[in-house]
Amino acid sequence: MTNLQSLEFFVPEIILVIIVIAALITDLFLKKSKTDLIGWVLGIGLIVVALSIINLRHVPPTTLFSDMIVIDPFSSFIKIVIILSTLLVIVASWNNHELNDYRKGEYFTIMGIMVIGLFLMSSSVDIIMLYISIEVVSIMSFVLAAYLKLDTRSNEAGLKYVIYGAFSSGVMLFGLSIVYGLAGSTNYFVIQESIAALDSPANPALVMGMLMIFAGFGYKISAVPFHFWTPDVYEGSPTTITAYLSVAPKAAGFAMIIRFFHQVFSDGHALSSNMIGITDIPWPEIIGVLAVVTMTMGNLVAIQQESIKRMLAYSSIAHAGYMMLALPVISIDAIEAIMIYLFVYLFMNLGAFFIVITVKNKTGGETFDDYKGLGWEMPFVGCVMTLFMLSLTGLPPTAGFVGKFYIFKTLVGAGNSYYWLVIAGGLNSVVSLYYYFHVVKVMFLDGERSDKIIQPPVTMFGLLVVTAVPSLFLGLYWNPLISWVKESLVFYTQTL
């Protein structure tokens, strides 16, 4: 589709751009204490964006801007996930006392720009577009991570993030240029065609290029061994940003990986078909090993953490590993499982971080000591946190179990060369129970009954309800989610 025709289907992104500009201008006229208003601008804007995405749901999958990005149900699903997490994080940001000393205008504006980047990440089918969108998201993340400019840890987080980000995007760009050199095009579909036509099945240049591209992907979803930035950045950033980074870019990152693998290496018609092009390289095994290492590393290091925020950072690495388990299969079932996991992970992980914010607002700390007896002082917060911990461990009847169940089901269904991944994933859940329930232990078992009960502020209470209800309810009845995911499993594909 030509550029002018495409605009009609690009409405959500255009609205976003307008909102961001409006937010920037409004911010100029506001006193520091009133900058929360920008959050309202962005929040309401995002709801309008969501409505326009829903409005476009009947458009048949197609490419926009001369094969730069696509619009298909899959990208709409990821966009909705991104919008949901952004909305929740905006509300939490109003209540995050860490941010009180700063103007929040830029904060919300930058978040808005990041959403545009995430949208493009989830829908690009061109390696140039892919790279640009990743950079938009990364640069905005660097700024947000370092937003607490008076706090050295936040500055450290920003700097570390920049260094790792710059390095891995450089490596990825190198990989992309090798692939471009082999294929002669930046378009996914042309690349797929050319790779399939390569003489030698395992062309060393292609393998090299692919590995380098995977380094970029791995950095974005914080997979081992590209995860080293994660703990420090997550610990130093404002907690709301940590929560956001652990969910939204991860969702977009997985969308990007799924699209890339599926459209460059499958034959374009059926998702279940084998990967083509570099058949001699055991990709499923390589990704499987990376997934297992990611989970195991995340879980084992999480056990030793003193700070709950840092523990959740490692736990989010482990969760990336669980989702990666399904990547080697890359069938319809596998993509479905990853989508379900992303959706339930959104609620349980954001919820856990919101508790960290609530507690930090109250006690000023985020170590295990600050949670001592929390369950007795703030029973609601304690119970909800227990629910999130259960869900993150993946115990029924919570949403986290449903997520893991679908991943495991996919692997068992894919045949017995994947059983070892199931066993590894299952054992990792057992390991993760230990540190998740360490939180529960500290909250309930280490404390004494207190006579006065403290309730969290109303907005935090609301946020916790909004994240807790799906974390439990989706574990008991997830038919609506499944049917939505199944409807969204339509990709734009093209064979030349």
Binding site: L395, F401, G413, F437, K441, L445, R449, Y477, N479
Partner: protein, 514 residues
């Protein structure tokens, strides 16, 4: 009364919700509410038993509801001769244990809310006939148990709680893999009855890593259940957890949760993979022997009364395993001895019921003395017989029941297990009689040290067992004595179902030997 089974499951959940809404200072109201809900549940369970047709070996009172159609997950409940006695036992013990926990002072509201949730989980496992549902109930039990041990337990309670949780979760993860294996090989369904029908054929000749899939799945499921039983070498969590848990929770744990393991093996492993029973029976008998001897020896070495009772559980569950292994006697290769198979399997199932009542009694009685002396050191007492004659009498009865004295129900079921297993596993049965000897030795020796000899001066003001405590023990003692003298009613109740299971295993065995 169409939904009587659902009622049994959801009533305690409703109770937990009601308790959650009672202000936390109204402790007595909370206790009475818990007693009320478990009491009504017990009455419903009795009604169920009265309406149950013992002659019919298949599932009764079935309920079926669509749940997640895209995965073929349904809400299916049913009860048969295997699960009915366990449901009755569960309802009764949960009712009794409300009174055992009457003196809990700390966070009464939380305690009873979790207690009722645990009740729902246990009953749910016994009644569910859909693997997904089964798994959910199986896991739902873990969280209340974690808190009940971790919050109301002894000094090392936190360690015990997480150890229990980790152990069980490890088992259930393997079980989940087994369940998924069955799901995909048996035509994408979680319906246990449907899988029972299809599995022997569907798994025939299927290989995983060069091994028969049926055997792999059997082992995966078995480990999950064996941890609950607990079968050696997965038993190490049990003594610790028992020692740390509050009395009522020890009673529930020994009386019911351990039975879930045996129940699971018979329902799932025997029902779905009868071919593999044939392959694994020898191993099962050996594990039974190890449980009997090892549990007995460990019990003998204990100085903590509660730990002794805990190890006696391991010892007693060994008989049950031995009885289960006897099912293969019905196979043609073993002479098609149907009587032995019946005796063995019925013995195993009877043993799990009897152990439920006897160990419950023992733990309650240990709790009684702990309440007064604040320790359980066997050597630390002495001469209590003169101080607490009634307590001594009741404990003597419980100990004799525990050591399998004729006239008590434990004797009947243990004898049945031995009789059943003898034709096939002669050496093992002969060796495990050593266990009986150990069994008698540790109980009698402990009894002697606690109750006879000179009265320890410290305890000359020790008060006699009170009415409430007697009220919790007497019904169990009556059941033990009654079935010890007249086991017929119980055996009639389970016979038809047992015959079905035996027939299935025997058929497969005969088929294989042809």
């Amino acid at each position: 009364m169409d939904n009587i089974l659902s009622l049994l499951i959801w009533l305690p959940i409703l109770g937990a919700i009601v308790v959650a809404f009672i202000p936390r200072d109204k402790e007595d109201i909370i206790r009475y509410t818990a007693a009320g809900f478990t009491g009504v549940q017990f009455i419903i369970a009795i009604l169920l038993w009265r309406k149950f047709e013992p002659g019919n070996g298949s599932m009764q009172f079935m309920e079926r509801l669509e749940w997640i159609p895209s995965l073929n997950i349904s809400y299916i409940l049913g009860v048969d001769g295997l699960s009915l006695p366990m449901v009755l036992l569960t309802a009764m013990l949960f009712f009794i244990c409300v009174f055992v926990s009457w003196n809990i002072k700390k966070a009464v509201k939380g305690y009873f809310a979790l207690y009722l949730l645990l009740d729902a989980g246990v009953v749910g496992v016994f009644l569910s006939l859909d693997f997904f549902l089964f798994y959910i109930f199986w896991e739902v039990m873990l969280l209340p148990m974690y808190f009940l041990i971790g919050m109301w337990g002894g000094p090392q309670r936190e360690y015990a709680a997480i150890k229990f949780f980790l152990y069980t979760l490890f088992g259930s993860v393997l079980m989940l893999v087994g369940i998924l294996g069955l799901y995909f090989t048996c035509g994408k369904t979680f319906d246990i009855l449907l899988i029972m029908e299809r599995a022997p054929e569907a798994l025939d000749g299927v290989l995983w890593w060069g091994m028969s899939a049926a055997k792999v799945i059997w082992v995966l499921l078995f480990i999950g259940f064996a941890i609950k039983v607990p079968v050696f070498p997965f038993h190490t969590w049990l003594p610790l957890v028992h020692v740390e848990a509050p009395t009522a929770i020890s009673v529930i744990l020994a009386g019911i949760l351990l039975k879930l393991g045996v129940y699971g093996i018979i329902r799932v492993n025997y029902g779905i993979l009868p071919n593999a029973v044939w392959w694994f029976a020898g191993g099962l008998a050996i594990l039974g022997l190890v449980n009997v001897i090892w549990g007995g020896l460990c019990a003998l070495a204990q100085t903590d009364l509660k730990k002794l009772v805990a190890y006696s559980s391991i010892n007693h569950m060994g008989y049950s395993l031995l009885g289960m292994a006897a099912v293969v006697a019905a196979g043609a290769a073993n002479g098609g001895d149907l009587k032995a198979a019946q005796a063995g399997l019925s013995g195993a199932v009877f043993q799990m019921f009897n152990h439920g009542t006897i160990s419950a009694m023992l733990f309650i009685l240990v709790g009684v003395v702990y309440e007064r002396a604040h320790h359980r050191d066997i050597e630390g007492f002495g001469g209590l017989a003169s101080q607490m004659p009634i307590y001594t009498g009741v404990t003597a009865l419980a100990f004799f029941a525990g050591l399998g004295l004729p006239g008590f129900s434990g004797f009947i079921s243990e004898a049945m297990c031995f009789i059943g297993a003898f034709p096939v596993f002669k050496t093992i049965v002969v060796l495990s009689t050593i266990g009986i000897l150990l069994n008698a030795a540790y109980f009698l020796w402990a009894f002697q040290r606690v109750f006879f000899g000179k009265l320890n001066e410290k305890y000359k003001d020790m008060t006699e067992i009170n009415g409430l405590e007697l009220f919790t023990v007497i019904p169990l003692a009556v059941i033990t004595l009654f079935f010890g003298l007249y086991p017929r009613p119980y055996l009639d109740l389970i016979r038809a179902t047992m015959d079905q299971i035996i027939e299935k295993v025997a058929f497969v065995a005969n088929f294989a030997s042809m």
